[in-house]
């Protein structure tokens, strides 16, 4: 079938305001939106800018806004993107990032915030010699959900808080902190408290649930943030911190 793809384009070398450009392509309902973009780039317009790599939803390169919703172009099929009876797919770059070119945005701010939460293992005790830490299945299950995160930043674009509070660390960084806070082998909240409880920390979240709605890995991000809020409260009560 013939479909129309409207892509919000931006050329950094002219600096002109972003504007939509239309392309007509032959598409199958089971095609990925990424397949369509590649078809356009390779056969119609080589100057179209977007990122891609794995093409099956695990590397996180191709998050964008497809018909108004954040998603991965390689995990969104044409039939899922098109509303009933429609033949036009609208594709835009993620929000809350500086534009680079067309669908490419500068992810530096996202990775900076991610790094700010110390998203690495801080062992509670030294590892056993030439063995693994013992961790029960239940303990492992407690932090399974955020381990799925591929840092695609779809949630960061969808979060309404970031419309006005640009300093907010955002959903992904919060979820990544939770991944370690909840790990029985890790020191937990204490080394990450200052950032998570700080002015740009998890308290910025207003429970819009947009991050959870768009997450291509179906991580319950808002829930993780709320749990982190409770853990902070409890931690401070226990330690007698104001």
């Amino acid at each position: 079938m013939k479909i129309t793809v409207e892509i919000l384009r931006y050329n950094p070398e002219t600096g002109a305001d972003p504007a939509f450009q239309s392309y007509t392509v032959d598409a199958q309902p089971a095609n990925r939106v990424l397949d369509i973009l590649m078809d356009i780039k390779r056969n119609q317009d080589g100057s179209l800018g977007f990122r891609k790599s794995c093409a099956h939803g695990v590397c996180g390169s191709d998050a964008m806004i497809i018909n108004g919703k954040e998603g991965l172009a390689c995990k969104t099929l044409v039939k899922d993107a098109l509303p009933e009876g429609e033949t036009t797919i609208k594709v835009e770059p993620l929000k809350h990032f500086p534009l680079q070119k067309d669908l490419m945005v500068d992810p530096d701010v996202f990775f900076e915030k991610y790094r700010s939460v110390s998203p690495f293992f801080i062992p509670a005790e030294a590892p056993p010699k030439s063995k693994e830490y013992i961790q029960s299945r239940d303990q492992r299950k407690k932090f399974d959900d955020p381990t799925k995160c591929i840092l695609c930043s779809a949630c960061y674009s969808a979060c309404p808080v970031l419309d006005t509070e640009s300093g907010f660390i955002g959903p992904a960084a919060s979820a990544q902190a939770a991944r370690f806070n909840k790990d029985s082998r890790d020191k937990g909240l204490a080394p990450r408290l200052a950032v998570l409880d700080g002015e740009n920390g998890v308290w910025g979240c207003e429970n819009h649930f947009e991050c959870t709605r768009v997450c291509p890995r179906e991580i319950k991000i808002t829930k993780l943030i709320n749990e982190t809020k409770r853990e902070i409260k409890q931690f401070k009560e226990e330690k007698g911190i104001e």
Partner: protein, 577 residues
């Protein structure tokens, strides 16, 4: 041109590159160049596990793992390297766990292990639980854990810098030239040591599990610098890719009990591998599927190479699938609209892994055995140690990149202590500047997309699972023609900033060179061994062909040489499972 100076430059930020960077950066001024952003590398797509004889569920021994690796490689595996792989795998897995990697757990809280193709107890008796896994996201967890450690240790990254030329001063490596995607500018990275960890090149085939980024940049640059590649004729097709798309369905599905069935519902692996059945090595299972298809027992039954079979996991039950294979279930829902606990998965073989690559020793040093290239290192899929021989076992790619990535990093740290940065030869950047100049100025009408398609189709048809002289000759001729047409490929993006089209054209050039040497090396090897399976030479021929191929490329001509296989422990035997 901007010139940077480092002790060590690691090119590629997948598992091998990150592990090497962690080791090297302890004592050397190290930077990682990657054409992708962190954690986009294809290590993250590895699913089923990392093999190590921990023995958490049943007795296991490192020598069994080494034996399986050697037999799995159809005795082309270098045996000293295979023992290192198996022995160091155990500590490597503990190291990853100790750095926070969230492995799935056994009932008593240890690292969980599952069965995997070709991994056996007691030299082939039966399948063994050796694959250490984190659900079906093991590669993702390894990539995450290593990158997290790089953050913790302040490793320096140049994101979206694509290596386009190796700088050699005679046989000494002097650095690497990269294009910065954001500006289109060339940068020279001078360094005492350069390591390639650029991953695979499966994008030369039409149906592949590989990422778009897997264009063999490291091996292609080495080849262009006059360094021969090893064993390029051995390319693994994974038996179970999603029909028509090539997306990987982990061997872990069969490790958990999944069964391959033909159109009559028969468990056809009973015929081909009576002991290991569906858990035979990948080359054998892929051939079994193709044979079923050729004999009209594929699901459509039309004997065409794009027919398929079914991978039945319905008897495992929803709970097991959701707990142990959640991403597979997700892929099936997304791309096939089926629930694998209710319906079997339509699968066909998919181009998956290059056993060949840049020849190295067990320290990651690039060497042909006779000629060592001082300061140049490689590890991971782009390298050929050779631990995988003619066919890699499942889980051994992850073992390879942590064991040999780490070893390369350690060796680099030692090497740079006594080394100086090699001077830049006069006109060292002329070649790449000229090449980019030509791409930019060509008014020719060849279309990137068409050239890509034709290369992938030619390689799939002629240098696929079953090969013969006629098919390989045709593929070789087509690749030669495409390399001519490539000189007139059209660049439509005239900009400098974020010109990904220019970089894709360079990547296609890399793939065309690698396709040429792959087809030529395959045509040259007149036997069947591991993944290289010839209809016109159906048997393994040890007297004539128990040797590694080295293939070099100069302009359009290939040059072949050979290297002995390191056989220390296990003499070649017929390979039955």
């Amino acid at each position: 041109m901007q010139v940077h100076e480092y002790d060590a430059i690691i090119t590629g930020s997948g598992g091998a590159g990150l592990y090497a960077a962690l080791e090297a950066s302890k004592s050397a001024k190290t930077a990682v160049l990657s054409k992708l952003y962190p954690m986009r590398s294809h290590t993250g797509a590895a699913q089923g596990g990392i093999g190590a004889a921990l023995g958490n569920l049943e007795e296991d021994r490192t020598e069994w793992h080494a034996f399986d690796t050697i037999k799995g490689g159809d005795y082309l595996t270098d045996q000293t390297a295979a023992f290192i792989l198996a022995e160091e795998a155990v500590q490597a897995v503990y190291d990853l766990e100790n750095r926070g990697l969230p492995f799935s757990r056994t009932e008593d809280g240890r690292i969980a292990q599952r069965r995997f193709g070709g991994h056996t107890r007691n030299f082939g008796e039966a399948a063994v639980h050796r694959s250490c896994y984190a659900a079906d996201r093991t590669g993702h967890m390894i990539l995450q854990t290593l990158y997290q450690q790089c953050i913790k240790n302040n490793v320096h990254f140049f994101d979206e810098f694509q290596a386009v030329q190796l700088i050699m001063n005679g046989t000494h490596c002097a650095g690497v030239i990269a294009v910065e995607l954001a500006t289109g500018e060339l940068h020279t990275f001078r360094s005492k040591a350069v390591m390639f960890a650029t991953g695979g090149f499966g994008r030369m085939f039409k149906i592949t599990s590989n990422a778009h980024a897997n264009t063999g940049d490291g091996p292609a640059l080495a080849l262009r610098a006059g360094i021969p590649l090893e064993d390029m004729e051995f390319f693994q097709f994974h038996p179970t890719g999603i029909m028509g798309m090539g997306i990987l369905i982990t061997e872990g599905v069969r490790g958990e009990g999944g069964i391959l069935r033909n159109r009559d519902g028969e468990r056809f692996m009973e015929t081909y591998a009576p002991t290991l059945l569906d858990l035979a090595p990948r080359d054998m299972v892929a051939r079994a599927i193709m044979t079923e298809i050729q004999q009209g027992r594929g699901i459509r039954g039309d004997r065409r190479i794009d027919d398929y079979v079914l991978l039945d996991a319905t008897h495992l039950g929803k709970e097991v699938i959701e707990a142990k294979l959640p991403d597979i279930a997700d892929f099936c829902r997304t791309y096939l609209d089926i629930d694998p606990s209710e319906k079997p998965i339509p699968v066909q073989p998919t181009a998956h892994y290059g056993m060949g690559g840049i020849p190295t020793d067990v320290h990651g040093r690039v060497t042909t055995g006779e000629q060592i290239y001082e300061g140049l290192y490689a590890a991971g899929e782009c390298a050929c140690v050779s631990v995988h021989g003619a066919n890699r076992l499942g889980t051994n790619s992850l073992v390879d990149l942590v064991v040999f990535g780490r070893r390369a990093g350690i060796h680099i740290a030692e090497f740079i202590q006594g080394a100086e940065i090699s001077p830049l030869p006069d006109g060292y950047s002329r070649e790449i500047e000229q090449r980019i100049g030509e791409i930019r100025s060509t008014a020719g009408g060849e279309n990137l997309g068409e050239l890509y398609e034709e290369m992938q189709s030619a390689m799939m048809a002629g240098v696929g699972i079953y090969r013969n002289e006629k098919g390989m000759r045709e593929a070789l001729e087509t690749i030669k023609e495409l390399r001519e047409r490539y000189k007139k490929v059209r660049l439509s993006d005239e900009g400098s900033a974020f010109n990904s089209e220019l970089l894709e054209i360079i990547e296609l050039g890399n793939l065309l060179d690698l396709s040429l040497v792959t087809a030529a090396a395959a045509l040259n090897r007149q036997e069947s061994r591991g993944a290289h399976s010839r209809e016109d030479y159906p048997d393994r021929d040890d007297p004539n062909w128990l040797k590694h191929t080295l293939i070099a490329l100069k302009n359009d001509d290939v040059f072949l040489a050979y290297k002995d296989v390191d056989i220390t422990e296990f003499k070649p035997k017929p390979r039955v499972y």
